[in-house]
Amino acid sequence: MSDATVYGLCSAVLVGLGLFGLIVHPELLRKILAFNLIGGGVFLLFGVVARRGAAAGFGGDPVPQALVITGLVVAFAATALAVALLRRLFQETGRTTLRSDG
């Protein structure tokens, strides 16, 4: 399953890249973007695990694939809530960063 391994390595790089973006950007919207990047990497890893589990006539193990769909929905909900909080914070204070970096 070496094509799955390629994406596995890709997901490792994405997690590291996203973590870098999370640490380095003070603006909260960039941090939220970085979270989504890390999430994309983690979900891709689920996909790699699913592809490696291809059996019984399926192209991939359906359980991790279903978990990713659930995870994508939850991740969107988190993004929407975080962005709403950020916009409200901006409305109240005019800032888009937290005073002591979280």
Partner: protein, 502 residues
């Protein structure tokens, strides 16, 4: 070890369904009815939870339910052992107390729906359902969804009053929680990729001491530590818990922050017993010690009462993690038969009651005075004696003085530390108790002092609310009558290491 759904397992389903269904009903019926739905549900759910605890005690085995009748690893299992039962009952009692306390504070005018009451009651029910889902979940991904449910229910409670600082605190809380969730998910995919299951009992049978397992365990523990606000991930907690309204702070500090700790126990004692890592457990103990020291010292420096109580939570969470180096043993013994196991869990439960009482007392004081500056508390002891008494009772548990659950818990940790030869934890426990005494007496001394000019209260505080606060504080005190030895209830359902579902 049951291999299928046990009798009474359906109660586990009800424990989650009732609060969540109540939340949905409140949302549809609208703000005026949300409070009524919540208050009707509370005794019903308390009955369900007590039935679960009774079932666990009577059968001396865990209650298990395979959802949809699909066996793990394909399906998801709910499991309630003695530990779950204790946490479920604590949550139910706490929520009932909070509901009674918040009745006046979040009541809706009859004409129109207003924001704060609707949001408060629906989110309180959602938090309750999510907590129960965490306490009985037997599958790591199901637990992930439960943790997300808990986070999304808790975060808006922090920013309920809409001020800029609480919104910032809520956002910081959300970001820390999301960071924890991502680490947790990464760990879950590694577990599945290596062992083909996310069911806790199956995983405990299949796990091997190898790099994948170590990586997954470290990632999951780190993620849960961020959610539990263990030092050095504690920065989000004080502004969040201090900024929330008092009944919300009670549940946030009392239980929401303990749910990730509960999962650390599940990870370290249910999944890992065949591969104990005492060295790593020492690291967690060191972080716990740092939390106790840093949290207590910073609490002493606070000018506002609610922030002091919040930093005290940071410190008391540290005690929970002292349980790990004391209970994880190098040889494959049974950690749950140790005194440290009971002590750690008792610390979680008694702190839940004590901290809830303290936050609610602080809330009453703030309502009466219009502020919560510690320097301005003079005379409140005479004006609201019952409230300050409740605060003092909670403080006794925090300090670890008898009679209180906190005393028994810390005594057990001390006993375990001495028995294991890890005397350095004993020093930490005693120092923490002294520091807690410091900040509790700080508040009490101010409260009992004579004011320079006569105190004028902004509002009258209803005696029923004060009674609820005292009742919760008394629960913490009553736990002081637990015998000083490993609890039989908490050992029910603990897996024998070599057996498991096949």
């Amino acid at each position: 070890m049951p291999h299928s759904t046990t009798a009474g397992g359906f109660l586990l389903v009800l424990a989650i369904v009732l609060p969540v269904a109540g939340m949905l009903l409140s949302l549809v019926l609208g703000g005026r009815h949300a409070q009524r739905v919540a208050l009707i549900l509370m005794p019903a759910e308390l009955a369900v939870v007590l039935a679960i605890a009774f079932g666990v005690w009577r059968t001396h085995n865990l209650l298990q339910y395979f959802v949809g009748n699909w066996n793990p690893p394909l399906g998801v299992a709910f499991r309630a052992d003695g530990l779950s039962a204790a946490m479920l009952v604590t949550a139910a009692l706490l929520v009932c107390g909070i509901g009674l306390f918040a009745r006046d504070q979040f009541s809706s005018p009859e004409q129109a729906e207003t924001r704060a009451p609707l949001v408060f009651w629906t989110l309180l029910l959602a938090v309750w359902g999510a907590l129960n889902a965490v306490f009985i979940g037997g599958d790591l991904f199901n637990l992930y969804v439960a943790l997300e449910l808990l986070t999304f229910a808790a975060v808006p409670l922090v920013s309920l009053d809409g001020r800029a600082e609480t919104i910032a605190a809520a956002l910081r809380y959300l970001l820390f929680a999301l960071f924890g969730s991502i680490l947790y998910l990464l760990a879950a995919v590694l577990f599945y990729g290596a062992y083909g299951t996310l069911d806790i009992i199956l995983l405990s049978a299949r796990i091997q001491p190898e790099p994948v397992a170590w990586a997954a365990i470290s990632l999951m523990t780190a993620g849960l530590l961020a959610k539990a606000a263990l030092y050095p991930f504690h920065l989000w907690l004080p502004p969040a818990h201090a900024g929330a309204p008092a009944p919300a702070s009670a549940i946030l500090s009392g239980l929401v922050v303990k749910a990730p700790f509960f999962l650390v126990i599940r990870l370290w004692f249910d999944i890992m017993p065949r591969m104990p890592e005492p060295a790593a457990a020492q690291v967690l103990g060191i972080l716990g010690a740092a939390a106790i020291l840093v949290g207590s010292v910073v609490a002493l420096q606070q000018a506002r009462l609610k922030l002091l109580i919040a930093y005290s939570t940071v410190a008391q969470i540290g005690y929970l993690f002292l349980m790990l180096p004391l209970a994880v043993k190098a040889e494959t013994g049974h950690p749950w038969s140790t005194v440290a196991w009971t002590g750690g869990v008792l610390q979680a439960i008694s702190h839940a009651f004590a901290k809830a009482a303290m936050f609610m007392a602080a809330g009453l004081i703030a309502e009466a005075l219009g502020h919560d500056r510690i320097a301005g508390l003079a005379g409140i002891g005479r004006a609201l004696p019952i409230t300050v008494f409740a605060f003092a009772l909670g403080g006794i548990s925090l300090m670890g003085l008898p009679p209180s659950g906190g005393f028994i818990a810390k005594a057990m940790l001390l006993t375990a530390a001495v028995a294991e030869g890890q005397w350095w934890w004993a020093v930490i426990v005693l120092t923490g108790g002294l520091l807690a005494g410091g900040y509790v007496f700080l508040v009490l001394a101010r409260a009992l002092a004579d004011p320079i000019e006569p105190l004028r209260l902004l509002t009258t505080v209803s005696p029923s609310r004060q009674a609820v606060v005292v009742a919760l504080a008394l629960c913490a005190v009553l736990l002081g009558f637990v015998p000083l030895r490993p609890s039989e209830l908490l050992q029910i359902g603990r897996p024998a290491i070599t057996t498991g579902l096949r």
